[in-house]
Structure formats: structure tokens, C-alpha cells
Symmetry: C2
Subunit: 242 residues, 2 copies
């Protein structure tokens, strides 16, 4: 079989994971190109809307690990696979194997629209179904199936919903109640994707986070939740590659 | 045996846990009075320096759970025990039992200067040894013993070091290398305990967090670390009881 190549949009790090279940973790990022969704507020639209197409490289697992080492040396033990939607890539297990062989842990973020068997190799898997403000529709039977398979294998995974408004919050509650046993993260959405000056964005981001805290603290149905901001936006605004 | 009473400084919530291994979690706080340390930058000095002594109440486990329910109703499933140093209270296991009976999880934060057998009942235990800037000295053999006991019982625990300067960072590295297998959190210290206006503090807090990220990302010896701010300070500044 010909060696698999993956469409890679960017490789960067080491930096901190700014979101979700491993927030704060020192990690490298591998961002793959291509997404089956087109969320209205996508902060990685360059991975699928054509604007970044000249930056896409088709790399093998070995080429990716070599580039990670060139950037991060021996100073990291964690890689985050992000997109786009890396779950479009059926062969990605070979990259995960290569990283595990180097004793590097691997996290994945995907919206939960597709299953891949290599999900079972992921050390921290974040499923991030998209709320109404995204303009996308959730395929609940597919999500049910993904959750069931990960639970059957006792994998370390969580759900994360980005929330912009009350309709999103209602959607998040529905997801939390559908899978009450799954660790559940709420994340304050950032609708301010144009601002490049991080400090100018801070009051807005804090206000959004405080709004989400207020809503969830007052709501008894949100019991076992974790409410988080996007730390990287607080520090670096909308800057890419950090 | 007479029913145990605990010196309680404050009970508040629900709010988000702003730090460490369960950052973002919806939780209630029970803050006990009294500490065997006197850290120079303690943000809870009112628990031990006499300034809060009129607020201390001696409460039983049942009185504490009743007050938690009065404040948080049925809308929470997590309680954080904080101080001061709750590890000074040998009977605290009765409170943990009472909370577990209500299907409430319990987290603890302690500096690791004392062992208590009820540590083995804690769902998420954060040991936060204090770096040089605190003015305190770490009792390493005691800390070794605590780590050994928690590992032998396969408990869910982590180490967290608050870092203000390079000497603190060197201390943190020493702690990380002494217990390389224990999940390790670095937290940017807040030396600005007087500022009451949250928004005015933000640029400072972001700068401190970015400084700590820069140091740890550049250092190959910090590999399996998580670097976090104090989220509650970013949102509420130095305000108490939120
Ligand atoms: S699923 Fe993610 S990458 Fe795809 S469009 Fe939505 S936000 Fe963007
Ligand atoms: S150990 Fe904690 S409560 Fe005690 S003095 Fe130090 S910072 Fe304050």
C-alpha cells in the first residue's frame, strides 16, 4: 500500500492548549485541511474556504513527526490534531502510531459528524457538536454511535459545546442530557474574529465568559459542567499559529 | 463521640473553579479557617491572620451541607474544600462522607504539609507546595509520603505550583522532576492583591500568564505540564466570595 499522505494546513508549537479537557497543556498543533461543515463563526475557515489552499501540503506521518521535532525538539510530549475536521482522514491512525512510538500523547478535536476506528487510539478526544448559531445541523444518530463506541472502549473523551446565545445554551443542555455521563464542557464563543489587538478584545471576551458563567450557575440542570473560555484568544487575540 | 465541628470561614457558590485540575468546574466552596503556613502573597490571609476571626463559625458536617443546599439548591454536584489549610482538620472525613452520600464530588486544595487519612476519599486532590517567593520551606519527606500514599491508592491527584519569578520556576522544575509521573500544573502568580477593579487588572494578569507560558514553552525540561491562569481573578479581580 502506498504510504498515506495527509493534507496539512499548519504545524506549530509548542504552545498551550487553550480549550477544553486538556486546557493549559503544553502541546504542538497539527492542523489538517478540509471540513464537512461550514460553521458561520468558524475560526479556522482558511482550512476549508479556499483562502488557505496554497498553504496545504500533502505530508506523510514521518514528515509530520520530523517537522514537529524540528519545531519543538525534545521539549514536548503532546500533540493536538485539529482542523478542519481530521476525522475526514481515514488513515490518520498511522500518524497517531508514529507519535505514540515516540511516547507522545495525542489529542483530537472533531465535531462528531464522522467515526473513524483510530478514534480509539486518541488519548484525549474532544467531540464538539455545533450549536444552532453555527448554521449546521447535528446528526444525532451518528453522534450516539460515536459516544457508544468510545464508552464501550472506556476511552478518555469529552463533549464541548461553544455557546454564543440562549438558543446555543438550550442546545448544549439537550446534548448534556442526552449523554449525562460524559464530561461536559461549555465554551464561551468569540464572535469578534476580526480584532487583531489582543488587549482590546479582552473586555469583550471576559464579558462573554461571565455571561456564560452567569447562565450556567443559575441553571440547576447544568450540574456536572465545566465552563471555560478560549485561553489562547485571551492571550493572543485572533493571531494564528500560536 | 461528640459530633465534630469545623472552623468555617465562608461558604459560597455555585461558581466556577478558577484553578488547577478541575478548572472551570461548577462548584461550591467551603473555606476553612486556619493555616500552618504564612505565605507572603497569600490571597486568603484573612483565614489565618486574625482579620477574619469574627466571621469564623464552628459548624457540623450537617450544618455545612444544609448551608450548601440553601445556597446552591439542587444545582450543583461538586464542592471544593479550601482554606487556609483544610488538612489541619483531622475529622473532615465526616463532611466528605456526608457530601458523597448526596452524590456530590469533593475536591481539596492543600499545600502538602500534613497528611490526613481522609485524603483517600477526595475525588480531586490538588497538592500545592509553595515556592521560594512565599517565604515558606517545603517539607519534602512529608510531601514524598503524601504522594506515595495517594499513588499507592491510585487516587486522582495533581501537583500545582504558583510561580512568580525565576526562582519559583526552578523550584517548580525540582518538584516536577521529583514526581515526574504526577500531573503537574503551573499557575501564574498574582502579586496585585490590592486592585479591586477586575478590568484594570487584566493586562497585568495576561502579561504574567504570557510570561509563564514563554518560560515553560522554551524549556525542554517542562514537558508534561499544564500552564494555567487563575480564571476567577481574570473575571472578578480580587473580589471575595465569587
Ligand atoms: S466544524 Fe470546526 S473547522 Fe469545521 S467549519 Fe465548523 S468550526 Fe470550522
Ligand atoms: S498555604 Fe495557602 S492558605 Fe496557607 S498561607 Fe499559604 S497561600 Fe495562604
Amino acid at each position: 500500500m502506498k504510504e498515506a499522505r495527509f493534507p496539512v494546513m499548519e504545524i506549530f508549537g509548542p504552545t498551550v492548549q487553550g480549550e477544553g479537557m486538556v486546557i493549559g497543556r503544553k502541546t504542538m498543533f497539527v492542523r489538517t485541511a478540509g471540513c464537512d461543515y461550514r460553521c458561520s463563526w468558524c475560526d479556522s475557515a482558511f482550512t476549508w474556504d479556499g483562502t488557505g489552499k496554497d498553504d496545504i501540503r500533502l505530508l506523510t506521518a514521518d514528515e509530520i513527526t520530523a517537522e514537529l521535532r524540528a519545531l519543538g525538539g525534545d521539549g514536548f510530549a503532546h500533540v493536538t490534531l485539529s482542523g478542519g475536521n481530521p476525522a475526514l482522514l481515514s488513515q490518520l491512525g498511522t500518524l497517531i502510531d508514529a507519535l505514540h512510538a515516540l511516547r507522545i500523547e495525542v489529542a483530537l478535536e472533531t465535531q462528531g459528524s464522522r467515526w473513524q476506528d483510530w478514534f480509539l487510539q486518541i488519548d484525549e478526544l474532544t467531540i464538539s457538536p455545533k450549536p444552532p448559531s453555527s448554521g449546521m445541523n447535528t446528526d444525532w444518530p451518528t453522534l450516539d454511535d460515536i459516544v457508544r463506541k468510545l464508552e464501550a472502549a472506556a476511552r478518555n473523551f469529552s463533549l464541548k459545546v461553544v455557546v454564543f446565545d440562549d438558543a446555543d445554551l438550550a442546545y448544549a443542555k439537550q446534548a448534556h442530557e442526552r449523554y449525562p455521563q460524559v464530561p461536559f464542557f461549555l465554551q464561551a464563543g468569540n464572535a469578534n474574529l476580526k480584532e487583531t489587538h489582543a488587549i482590546r478584545m479582552l473586555p469583550y471576551l471576559v464579558e462573554r465568559y461571565e455571561w456564560l458563567i452567569g447562565k450556567t450557575m443559575a441553571d440547576a440542570q447544568f450540574k456536572r459542567v465545566r465552563v471555560l473560555p478560549q485561553l489562547h484568544a485571551w492571550v493572543w487575540g485572533n493571531k494564528k499559529g500560536v
